[in-house]
């Protein structure tokens, strides 16, 4: 097959991944493998496209190629090929089984019953391809009383205990502003697949990987979960304060809705903060000399700090504090990020042209390898963009067979919902 989706200079060149997943978690796993050279074929159906394209909830996405304009689908599917197959019909299922025979990795994030209904459980697919690495991302795992329950990123984040820990002091539990459970599941899945690929390279053995999304997230709790086990203590929600830094908070800067954060971890930093505030005498103020005193008078301290920060640009506050040796940073929004000097100096964002959306910048590959750097070879694929390439060049179908599949709408490149 013409090597659109792969590169010979990268570690996973020659590894073929069939990505049956949707949304964020599974597709992110596929994209991380694609970035490192794997040929990743993402599988959709014109009757049931990846819901991350927005067609099931965003108005206007079902006409005028709206499904190709999703700010969600595009950034997590670069470097992939797109194949549509209607798996509810035997011909579609037959073709997917042929593809599995030619694949090294299979990614899926359905609930358990879906793969069972397709006849594509691990025991089925490993019979087709014995050294296959299959990765499944069920919310709660494939065993236990909740195995048939399903999860969004918010569900996993809540069930892993993060939400109970986050919130303003005295306020209600709060979700992260991103669907944090999703990317964490995807990062873990890709890590697990890479481990399994390493093992397979040395032994020839494939295996089934289960990423129970909540289980992947719980280790990120760290301190609070260990405090429960060691001391039976439950951590309260304390807003912008810290358990060990004082002061620690988010303060207003000049302008509307502009903010800056800072935190003080040592006596030296405390004195440096007082100098930066232009009030070196504060360091000797009996209310603030030692951390426990500062904690007791945190409100008064916050007022003093805010009085200084609110007259300055947020970047200027951060610059002055960093120069003084105090950890601080401006609270940035999307336009700030696109203009951030550190991200720009490291060329974190890359720019690419894509049909229907034009030329835009996207967050780039994160792990930077010096000899085999991740390559952005192509933007996220269009629906069914590589149907013919995959079916003809990989599965060896004739033009007339492909025409028949089109006619029967087993494949296609226009939304059918």
């Amino acid at each position: 097959m013409e090597s659109i989706g792969r590169s010979q200079q990268l570690p996973f060149a020659g590894i073929r991944v069939l990505d049956m997943s949707q949304g964020w978690a599974g597709p992110l796993c596929g994209m991380l493998l694609a970035d490192m050279g794997a040929e990743v074929i993402t599988l959709e159906a014109v009757q049931r496209v990846d819901w991350w394209r927005g067609v099931y909830h965003r108005p206007g996405t079902r006409e005028d190629h709206g499904w190709e304009k999703s700010s969600h689908f595009v950034p997590v599917n670069r470097n992939k090929l797109d194949l549509t197959l209607d798996l509810t019909r035997p011909r579609g299922r037959g073709l997917v089984k042929e593809l599995i025979r030619l694949s090294d990795v299979l990614i899926e994030n359905f609930t358990i019953r879906v793969m069972k209904n397709f006849g594509l459980e691990y025991r089925d697919v490993s019979a087709l391809k014995p050294d296959l690495i299959m990765v499944s991302l069920p919310g709660f795992g494939m065993s236990g009383p909740w195995k048939d329950y399903a999860a969004y990123g918010q569900t996993t984040e809540s069930m892993a205990g993060l939400v109970a820990l986050c919130g303003y002091e005295g306020g209600s539990p709060t979700l992260q502003s991103i669907s944090y459970g999703d990317p964490v599941a995807g990062l873990n899945a890709a890590t697990a697949v890479m481990m399994a690929l390493f093992h397979r390279r040395r032994t020839g053995q494939g295996q089934h990987i289960e990423v129970a999304q909540v289980e992947a997230l719980i280790p990120h709790l760290g301190g609070p979960i260990m405090d429960w086990f060691l001391n039976r203590r439950i951590w309260p929600r304390i807003g912008n304060r810290s358990r060990w830094m004082v002061p620690h908070g988010c303060y207003p800067a000049a302008g509307h809705d502009q903010w800056v954060v800072l935190g003080v971890a040592s006596d030296a930093e405390w004195r440096a903060l007082c100098e930066a505030l232009g009030q070196p005498e504060l360091a000797e103020d009996p209310r603030f000399t030692i951390p426990s005193q500062r904690r007791r008078h945190h409100d008064a301290l916050d007022a003093i700090i805010a009085e200084w920060t609110c007259g300055l640009d947020k970047h200027e506050v951060a610059r002055r504090l960093q120069a003084a040796g105090v950890a601080a940073g401006a609270v940035q929004d999307a336009p700030d990020l696109l203009a951030d000097p550190q991200l720009a100096a490291r060329e974190f964002f890359f720019e690419i042209e894509r049909r229907y959306v034009g030329r835009h910048r996207y967050p780039g590959p994160t792990a930077r390898l010096s000899r085999t750097p991740a390559q952005v070879r192509q933007p996220a694929p269009l629906l069914g963009e590589h149907n013919e390439l995959v079916l003809r060049d990989l599965l060896g179908l004739s033009e007339s067979e492909i025409e028949e599949l089109k006619r029967d709408r087993i494949i296609g490149d226009e939304l059918l919902i």
């Binding site: 236990g144 969004y152 053995q205 086990f229 940073g329 990020l337 696109l338 974190f348």
Partner: protein, 408 residues
Amino acid sequence: MNEQTGPLAGVRVLDLTHHIAGPFCTKLLADAGADVVKVERPGLGDGLRSHEPFAGDEPGVERSGLFFHLNTSKRSVTLNFKTREGLAMLEELARRSDVLVENFRPGALDRAGLGADRLEALNPRLVVASISNFGQDGPYRDYKAIDAVFYALGGWMYSMGAPDKPPLYPSGSYAQYIAGLFACLGILPALYWADLAGEGQRVDVSILEAVLSVLVYDTVEYSYSGIRRGRFGHRWSLGSVAGCTASVQPCKDGYVGVYLGHGEERWQLFVGALLERPDLLDDPRFAAPQGRVQNVDELEAILREWLQEHTSEEIFHRAQELRLLFSTIPTTRDLAESPHWQARGYFQELEHPVLGRVTLPGPPFRLSATPLEFRRPAPLLGQHNAEVYGELGYAPEDLVRLRELGVI
């Protein structure tokens, strides 16, 4: 290592990391079977050893629960590599390793005499991974960072919390854990490449960029449509999705996660079967999805009235049985006591020489043929000096001398 199991069995990792991001990365490698030798400074060791929570709230370098969690399956040696002999020992360890992971300030390893060129000369197959706050270059390279700085600069915090309040701190070291995962995602392909092509390379991971990589949509959405996502309070929102049908709500005995998702089928199940209010299906205020967003306060009042009559457990199970993806809002205690995680054997117990039997979260994923396992509890400081330095050829009397000189 006495056992050679796990997907990374036989891989040798020289671990120069401290705090959270680096140790989380090497913990995953160690639990996967790699032989991870953690190099710590004599005396205090990894600063995380002095970080709460401590068993019984009693500080001590062998008493930190967080250190215990993040250093499973590793061996610990102490080494002062600012001494000439210490550096020579570190070089010897680097020569026989496949991977070196470090999270010093950028340039620190160079100044210690172990820069990229020296490492490549010592071991051309070595994968050298560096985790740093902002990356190995750029104007912020030497800036100080705490977790709040990553969330602020990375765009995570701006949209956290309520519109009429300051942006809210996410309350955890998540940036560090993500960076640890990205380090694995650089090391593992590099290791694969080293096996294929016989050459090592450097891996550079910036914690700030790691944050941006889980926050992918905000800048793209802005670039596509000029939409700047603000703070939304308890009603969750990503892009154009909004309303109280993705929110954390009070119920009879605490809180519950109401995560309805999209599609009319789910709406009908929610209103008709869960709330048992089929009359609302014909209510003009809520007939169309946009109406549910416009009339969100009224919808929320109806929802809350029902939630007040039910416990979080009742709501969670009833909703999930209807295929609605709701959640409870468990505390750490609820997690530890959950029958589901108990049935799956997720939390595990390890015997530690100082702490006794301690429970901790299990591996984050399960490989059927080569599972990740806790091969040993977190090491005591310098616990494996004799073993590891013995492997390098040092005799017990050499180690006595090195200890007296403050090298180990």
